[in-house]
Symmetry: C2
């Protein structure tokens, strides 16, 4: 029996091709959309305008793209994001790229859809700083191009509303998918798409246990119905120096939302696609490099100390998750003629 197990172990682990023995998934070309908001080109176009429009902030200086920069990795590369008047947010901005594959949004999962997520930052005092959505709607109503764009997207009787604005933004965000990473091409059969170190890292990623949570096509857990959420405690093993060093217990995560102690320090498992572009790491942006993030995760989630080689290999594999960013044209932001809507 012991011999048989050894043989099996060799078959499963002892070759580079092991990686493909697992159910490794490639990124879909299209993200799921809710029945209440099917994606259309007109909504996407409107959503793109809104996404890039700094006039959705009180000062006229902050757009969705300011903190979720699609020209970068879909975030701002800052520990904590900076909103109007240079104010700091409480958590690190998650990426917008492939966020359509999350079943809930925000680190604490408090939004059950991209539509619900898009409501929040616009009226958050330290983010875009608008007083309320009535003010946002009133401002947009003064821009003739938006009045028309909402009709084009939602029908001739449609008005500018929070609901339609967030639907459009969500529709645009659902197009932000990065396919054809080296990992995807490897899984589809192109053995040269990843190098040996990346393949070793892929195996380590699985065997060390990272893939227990970071599974699925976006490496953020299994595909779940919208609103479900795939959460995990972070840190799980609290008896590590890393916990104090990176202040990992200060934020209660999902517990802040549910006020249920059992949810304290639980977080949505984040997407790992393009993770090499998203430094610094974790909900509080406390870890500056991906190497260190891998070490910390292994220790506080799996109670394992990785060798330097394992860290390097896993980081190399994570680099293979960087996909192709679709070429996009700038939106023209609709004009106001001869007046301004911001200070």
């Amino acid at each position: 029996m012991r011999i048989l197990l050894s043989v099996l172990f060799f078959v499963l682990v002892g070759t580079n091709s092991i990686a493909l023995a697992k159910n490794w998934l490639t990124l879909p070309d299209v993200a799921p959309a809710p029945e209440s908001n099917p994606t259309t080109p007109e909504k996407v176009e409107l959503g793109k305008m809104l996404y890039f429009d700094p006039r959705l902030s009180s000062t006229g200086t902050v757009s969705c793209n300011s903190c979720h920069n699609v020209m970068l990795g879909g975030d701002d590369n800052r520990a904590l994001s900076m909103g109007v008047h240079g104010q700091l947010g409480g958590r690190s901005a998650p990426t917008v790229w492939n966020s359509a594959f999350n079943s809930v949004q925000f680190w604490d999962g408090r939004a059950d859809s991209l539509e619900a997520q898009a409501e929040g930052p616009v009226t958050a005092g330290v983010e875009m700083g608008m007083k309320n959505w009535d003010d946002v709607v009133a401002r947009l109503e003064k821009i003739p191009g938006y009045v028309q764009a909402f009709k084009t997207a939602f029908g001739e009787d449609a008005v500018i509303s929070k609901e339609n604005a967030t639907k459009a933004i969500a529709s645009y965000e659902r197009t932000l998918i990065t396919p054809n990473s080296p990992y995807d091409r490897y899984v589809k059969g192109d053995e040269s798409a990843m190098n040996e170190q990346q393949i070793r890292g892929m195996n380590s990623f699985s065997q060390v246990g990272c893939a227990a949570c970071h599974s699925g096509a976006a490496f953020n857990g299994p595909t779940l119905p919208a609103g479900t959420g795939f959460y995990f405690y972070f840190p799980t093993f609290t008896d590590s120096d890393y916990v104090a060093k990176y202040d990992l217990l200060k934020d209660k995560g999902r517990g802040e939302v549910t006020k249920n102690n059992g949810d304290d320090h639980r977080y949505k498992v984040p997407v790992l696609r393009n993770v090499e572009l998203m430094a610094p790491y974790f909900h509080n942006g406390s870890v500056k490099t991906l190497d260190e993030a891998v070490k910390v995760m292994a220790k506080v989630q799996l109670n394992k100390v990785l060798s330097d080689e394992e860290v390097s290999d896993i980081v190399a594999f994570l680099g293979a998750l960087t996909g192709e960013f679709p070429e996009q044209t700038f939106p023209r932001l609709p004009a106001t003629s001869g007046e301004t809507l911001t200070p």
Copy 2:
């Protein structure tokens, strides 16, 4: 003789076609570039990346585009721009669109080229807040994609430097031209391109005296050699309530640069292309609407009080100066892998 003059006056002024009797110029398709920095596609592409890269600011939150937003009218629609940490600048951001047709840059003309202009904001404490250009270069050198892009743009031996970075940004800015406005089409012979009010406004613009300074293809004065500058005193007539109301004498304009009293309150005559998109108006952004800006200009520059109809007509004509904005694709900003360069 008097009769002859009257006839001549009728011929020149009495019909809508008068406008074309003057030397009205259309916008060139290509902006002039200095011999030391010929425009190439590679430089334009690099310049576009740098222009949109917030990592050129201390906080990683402010790019050239933050205050000179090409998705809007090339400015930020704010009275005073907002830099890192929400700090306010001292003047209103001029538009980047068609700025290549200025012979000097900044309201006070202190930069003799787009290259020289691009140096300033990056290291201005209230704008992008970098300590010095050595720090900017050191940051860019850590981004492999930039190392390569500078070589592609400037030759295999080229290094990342302030000189090359500002050359690239200037090359990109020289592509930001908005041709084919209703005005341009009208001047080229399409009589339907402007409506009657706009044509009346064109005549008023000329006859009231606006065109004395706002001449030329970009309505910023005659074409002059780079570095020359076309300046005018603002306000010229100081005995107007507008002067105190809009605080027009606080800023010394070009006098702040030259320390020559004779230059106090002189400013570069700004581009009027797309002016309807650039509210609020003037160097201090003190005037909220284009209607009011036209009234103020007539009074403090020409000592004239315009009728409401003249104001409406001139504003309608200025609206005809809004051109076509070329479609552009987003740059991909070169990546750092697994680390961040900003706070």
